[in-house]
């Protein structure tokens, strides 16, 4: 049950957009495809929807091979980035459309439409046409139309990207709540890591048509496998240092003190993360870097370049040797030009592949 995507590829002429993606999505799971634009996440979703056909590979929904099935034979619902509402129909007619096609009786149509519209707070707009609604209301209509027929699978293609920041935050929680209440298997496409982190049961980070890492939000945040994932997730992004290990067991790198502090369990990972030329990357999240007294044991010498007070926290931009770093600290009293010690607690140092 759920959705199985097996080695799915998609080529448009000479251009490979999706490059052999495989993933098992459990029934009721909220699965997010995350990546920059052009990474193949929307194409992957559209192949699950049946709006594009894969060049090779297979897609199963609830145990049924739907690789080449028409969208209408897949029992899926979809919310589009530009809402995909029927401009000629009222909100009521929009939501009732999938029911009408399924020949649901008029009375049942009315009951279900009103119930779903009530749940999404658009009951008062049922008589309006889409052009008379705001972006947030239109997106709710599109969600209502998708949810009204209790689909097995719900696909969402950047549904919040046209909304303003405040509304986006509200809708994020609403969607998550609704979908998990109904237990619908969901694939959600976004380029926004905050959406991905806050909504997903699991995230697949995509790049150049590949799924580079699949895991729970915290797993991906805490243990990025590659330089790209480490850099992409988190704001401000992870501090990353080029490092290498040409002699087994003796890594070297830009900030000596940090390389020396790599704990044993991470040290064991190095050999599996090395590229062909013996290079890897050492990373630490900005919130884990500590500013300490200059000369404290295990700390590196750094100069404060810039301070960004954000209220609750402060972003401190530093230079250690040649390397620029960001530390997120509590409200602090650092000033531009201060010479301080930066300390990387070993338990937070991560070895990632380039």
């Amino acid at each position: 049950m759920g959705i199985q995507i097996k080695d799915v590829r998609k080529r448009f002429g000479a251009l490979t957009v999706v490059n052999g993606v495989s993933v098992d999505i459990a029934e009721g799971e909220f699965f997010v495809l995350l990546g920059e634009s052009g990474c193949g996440k929307t194409t992957t979703l559209r192949m699950v929807a049946g709006l594009e056909l894969p060049t090779s590979g297979s897609i199963h929904i609830n145990g049924k091979d739907v690789t080449y099935a028409e969208p209408r034979h897949r029992d899926i619902a979809m919310a589009f980035q530009d809402y995909g509402l029927y401009p000629n129909m009222t909100v009521y007619e929009n939501i009732a459309f999938p029911l009408k096609i399924r020949k649901v009786s008029k009375a049942d149509q009315r009951r279900k439409v009103e119930e779903t519209a009530g749940k999404l707070g658009i009951f008062n707009y049922l008589g309006r046409k889409p052009f008379q609604l705001s972006g947030g209301q239109r997106q709710r209509v599109s969600l209502a139309r998708a949810l009204v027929r209790n689909p097995k699978v719900f696909l969402m293609d950047e549904p919040l990207s046209n909304l303003d920041a405040k509304l986006r935050a509200v809708m994020r929680t609403e969607i998550k709540k609704l979908v998990s209440e109904l237990g619908i298997t969901t694939i959600y496409v976004t380029h926004d890591q905050i959406e991905a982190m806050s909504m997903a049961d699991r995230i697949a980070v995509m790049r150049h048509g590949d799924m580079v890492q699949v895991g729970s939000p915290l797993e991906i945040y805490d243990r990025p496998l590659t330089h790209f994932v480490a850099d992409f997730m988190g704001s401000p992004p992870m501090n990353l240092f080029p490092a290498s290990m040409t002699t087994a067991g003796r890594p070297t790198g830009e900030v000596r003190e940090f390389v020396d502090a790599i704990p044993d369990h991470e040290r064991d990972l190095i050999s599996s993360r090395l590229d062909a030329s013996g290079q890897f990357t050492l990373g630490i999240r900005p919130e884990h870097l500590k500013l300490v007294q200059l000369g404290s044991p295990g700390s590196a010498r750094a100069v404060v370049d810039f301070v960004e007070p954000l209220g609750q926290t402060t972003n401190v931009y530093l230079t250690a040797g040649e390397k620029r770093l960001i530390a997120v600290t509590d409200r602090c009293v650092s000033h531009v030009g201060d010479v301080v010690g930066v300390y990387a607690p070993p338990e937070f140092l991560r070895v990632v592949a380039n």
Binding site: A49, E70, P71, R72, M78, D82, Y83, P87, I101
Partner: protein
């Protein structure tokens, strides 16, 4: 300090006012040629024809025209030949525009599949509307000749009875309608196809996912979304079809037995063969009134004004 800051804007405002007045004059100056020309070739002839329609003006009778008030209009109401022409024209417009519209929509749907090679075919399809109507008339008259025409040859080739086409009063009207459809379907196709090409993609994808089959998609989404475009194309064609003259005149001269005596052909006869210009002007004004009423009914029925205002709000 404060004095300067108060007086400076006043000076600027003064200069601005003079400048704006100057700009307004320049605007009128630029409009003048078009304004004069429009009045000379549009407004003046219209008013003059209204005046003539109240006289018995006929240059072949010599002497001055006499003012006859509404006599011409009264005669027109009793002119069986005129109402016959109006009736024929109505049939002509309805059948020609209606069929063209259906064909244009079907062709647009077909070409919207965008198979390779369609681009060339699409261009070829547009050719009829580029041909001079006179040439169209001559070519079709030859093709429709009962004994020498290629159409009858083709009919006999597939085992059908040859037709008299424009030579028989029972088939003449249908023949000129056929030619009109042939010539003007491309025009409607062009507009409807542009409309189809510009439709947003996502409602169609949403419909596919919602479970709609192609026929439901056409009637529930494509057609309603195309309605503004269809209404405009139809309006343009209705007005144009009412004026059809050249092709018909070349093919049948209104015959045989007045079977294709469209109002334009009849008006031509009254005005430029009998030179009954006073009466002809009155008939023209009545025709204009009828066309206007038909257009108003059409716009009302099609919800044209509502469509436009919704479009503007979108």
């Amino acid at each position: 300090m404060s004095m300067t800051s108060i007086s400076t804007p006043q000076v600027v405002a003064g200069a601005d006012k003079a400048q704006r007045a100057g700009e307004r004059h320049t605007g009128w100056l630029l409009l003048t040629p078009a304004f004069v020309l429009m009045n000379a070739v549009g407004f003046f002839p219209m008013v003059y024809s209204l005046y003539i329609s109240l006289t018995n003006y006929n240059p072949t009778h010599g002497g001055n025209a006499r003012f006859v008030w509404l006599d011409n209009y009264a005669s027109a109401l009793l002119d069986i030949q005129f109402w016959h022409a109006i009736g024929l024209t109505f049939v002509f417009v309805t059948l020609s525009v209606g069929t063209s519209l259906v064909l244009a929509v079907l062709l647009s749907l077909l070409f919207n599949l965008r198979y390779p090679g369609f681009f060339l075919l699409r261009t070829i399809i547009l050719i009829p509307m580029l041909i001079t109507p006179i040439a169209v008339g001559i070519v079709w008259r030859i093709m429709m000749m009962p004994d020498l025409g290629v159409l009858n040859y083709l009919l006999t080739l597939v085992g059908l009875q040859p037709l008299l086409w424009t030579s028989s009063s029972s088939t003449a009207l249908l023949s000129i309608i056929l030619v009109d459809i042939w010539q003007w379907t491309p025009f409607m196709f062009l507009i409807v196809f542009a409309g189809i090409s510009a439709l947003p993609k996502s409602p169609f994808e949403a419909a596919a996912i919602d479970g709609a089959g192609p026929i439901r998609v056409f009637f529930s989404i494509t057609l309603p979304l195309l309605k503004p475009v269809i209404v405009i194309a139809t309006l343009l064609r209705i007005v144009d079809a009412f004026r059809t003259y050249d092709t018909t005149f070349i093919m049948t001269r209104g015959g045989p037995d007045f079977a294709t005596d469209l109002v334009s052909v009849y008006l031509q006869r009254i005005n430029f063969r009998f030179f009954d210009l006073g009466y002809g002007a009155a008939l023209s004004w009545i025709t204009l009134l009828i066309v206007t009423i038909i257009i108003l009914i059409f716009t009302k029925l099609s919800g044209f004004t509502r469509i436009i205002s919704e479009k503007e709000n979108r």
